[in-house]
């Protein structure tokens, strides 16, 4: 009996040792990744915040939290972020949208006073220091501003109440001179997502009616022109669009979808067949897309958000140098281009990413993310030296 107990104990210990050995990862450098880590900036302006956007303009970076925060390019990473003061509102306002053309920065703001309906679009001219309240669209409920091909677009919300039921529809407007003009696109029940300029045309997408399971994708050579709907859109709601041409000869329109799929559409305007599209894990929706240089490669980076209880988010990369989407790999694999394993694992690994912004003039990439469930900053930057990326640094 004693021998039996000893054998059982030995077997248990052996099993535990084998289980521990089996769980070990020879491919992961523990101390190596620790050596490569950069310190978390806990006094960051963006610590545990949700950052939606960042706009480079006139030697500064602007990021809307509730108020707009800005730092100059010269102040350096993570230094000098301060709230932007707007006439009358000062720093007591809510930012709904922000976008820049080559000459002007625009921000759609609402006074911070509770229940206030004081809204307006403010502009800041290049080289100027004073924000100006635009006369047109004063008091209008603007939910987003986008800059596409140096044209400013505004998404205007209109609410209608019938009995006790209130519905909101969204219209797409563009700035012509100093006046906002509505495009010919129909009002939509879903917000128009950020557009792209591809193949000499403007592209926008939205869920037209609340029962739609796919997005309608429109394109037009000019905002004033008649818009055409893409006949065969992706089979899921489109959540983000980006053109790839700015970084290489790969001339595609990339579309990210709620079901995790990513489409690369060429100038023939034909969507790839099911067999050739690249997909992320179906439990992740694509929330941001950007095409970037990485040495001799062009990579497509897909920010994601977890669906259906999955815990991690972060981003994945795909080599699209040949014009076809390859497999997406997680940002912490050894073949990833944007960051080392440790840099990814100690930054964006578990954050939903709302947008990537590349300041090509200064070779700086920004990732806008939600850090509310982490102990990190929600805004990260990554410097490119022309051949390699330096990894993520907390802003």
């Amino acid at each position: 009996m004693k021998a039996l107990r000893q054998s059982a104990a030995f077997g248990l210990v052996l099993s535990l040792v084998l289980a521990a050995l089996a769980s070990c990862d020879n491919t992961y450098g523990f101390y190596k990744t620790i050596q490569e880590e950069k310190a978390t900036v806990k006094d960051s302006t963006f610590y545990r915040t949700s950052v939606r956007d960042l706009v480079p303009f006139d030697g500064s970076y602007y990021s809307p939290l509730v108020a707009i925060y800005a730092r100059t390019l010269a102040s350096g990473t993570a230094q000098g972020w301060a709230a932007v003061s707007i006439p009358v509102y000062l720093t007591d306002y809510t930012t709904y949208g922000m976008a820049a053309t080559s000459t002007t920065l625009y921000a759609a703001l609402q006074s911070g006073h509770q229940a206030s309906t004081d809204r307006a679009i403010f502009s800041l001219a290049q080289g100027g220091t004073a924000w100006t309240r635009m006369a047109d669209f004063d008091g209008v409920d603007v939910k987003a501003l986008y800059s596409v091909n140096d044209t400013l677009f505004a998404v205007r919300a209109t609410s209608t109440t019938v009995g006790t039921t209130s519905t909101t529809s969204y219209g797409l407007w563009y700035l012509s001179g100093s006046t906002y003009v509505q495009t010919s696109l129909p009002e939509s029940s879903g917000l128009f997502i950020r557009g792209a300029y591809f193949n000499g045309e403007y592209w926008f997408a939205a869920q037209v009616t609340s029962t739609d399971t796919t997005s309608t994708i429109w394109h037009a050579s000019d905002p004033t022109a008649s818009w055409t709907a893409l006949p065969s859109p992706p089979s899921s709601l489109v959540t983000c669009l980006t053109a790839t041409l700015q970084t290489s000869a790969v001339d595609k329109l990339a579309m990210g979808c709620k079901d995790g799929s990513v489409y690369l559409m060429g100038t023939d305007l034909l969507l790839p067949t099911t067999g050739t599209l690249a997909t992320l894990d179906a439990t992740y929706s694509v929330t941001a897309l950007i095409a970037l240089p990485a040495g001799s490669k062009t990579i497509l980076v897909a920010g994601s958000n977890a669906l259906y209880g999955a815990t991690a988010a972060g981003y994945r990369e795909s080599d699209i140098s040949t014009g076809s989407p390859g497999s997406f790999v997680l940002g912490d694999v050894s073949t990833a281009s944007l960051a080392t394993t440790s840099s990814y694992d100690s930054s964006l690994i578990s954050m939903p990413i709302s947008r990537f912004v590349y300041d090509a003039a200064n070779k700086s990439l920004f990732a806008c993310a939600s850090a509310s469930d982490t102990t990190y900053s929600g805004l990260w930057s990554n410097a490119y030296d022309g051949s390699t990326w330096g990894g993520w640094t907390s802003e």
Partner: protein, 208 residues
């Protein structure tokens, strides 16, 4: 370990504080009334056994690679514990074992846990009620960094100073140097690194 000794160890882990108060009731072999003010002259006999528990700071020092290139530890000071058993083979020399654990956070806010299990050789010098010791240990560790695990060899060297407050108990301080090789093989041999850390803590030893 004899069954009676094993039972005593288990009881001591569960009811250590209570045992210390009831030592004179005979559970411990020769405990006396506490003599906190003056200490108790120590003696070490062949066959004596001790169980020690230490808690303290765990201070990562540096990391070097196979080319002996040294970098900072990039890890914040943390906490450690150790549970030690030793058996005296002579009036000063003992063999035993230690189970320990160290918790640290990295500068990137990741969680690092190292749990070594090691064999121990120690020598103790007695000066009245003061016991000074040196020890070396070798064994293996299990390391966890976020959700990743690793096992490797481990070595440790330390020193301690105890005050024998009663026959059954000594209290004191100890320090130890941890050497934590992370050895990779094959295509990943370049990941090999050597972690170095210092443990400083307070300790209590129970004399069985």
């Amino acid at each position: 370990m004899k069954p009676s000794t094993a039972a005593t160890v288990a009881l001591m882990l569960l009811f250590g504080p209570a045992l210390s108060l009831s030592a004179s009731d005979g559970i411990a072999t020769s405990a006396d009334t506490p003599a906190m003010a003056t200490g108790k002259a120590s003696t070490i006999e062949i066959g004596d056994q001790t169980i020690g528990l230490a808690i303290g700071l765990h201070l990562p020092l540096f990391i070097f690679d196979k080319d002996l290139t040294v970098t900072g530890a990039n890890t914040n000071p943390g906490a450690s514990f150790s549970l030690t058993y030793q058996y005296y083979l002579s009036h000063g020399f003992a063999l035993g074992g230690t189970f320990a654990g160290a918790f640290n956070t990295t500068i990137g806010d990741r969680n690092l846990f190292v749990a070594p299990l090691s064999l121990r050789a120690a020598y103790t010098w007695v000066f009245g009620s003061i016991e000074l010791g040196l020890d070396v240990e070798a064994g293996a560790y299990l390391m966890k960094l976020d959700s990743n695990f690793f096992m490797g060899p481990f070595a440790k060297a330390g020193a301690s100073a105890y005050w024998r407050v009663m026959n059954a108990w000594s209290i004191g301080i100890e320090t130890a140097y941890w050497f934590i090789p992370e050895i990779h093989t094959g295509d990943y041999i370049s990941f090999t690194r050597y972690g170095n850390a210092l443990e400083v803590g307070i300790a209590a030893a129970y004399h069985l």
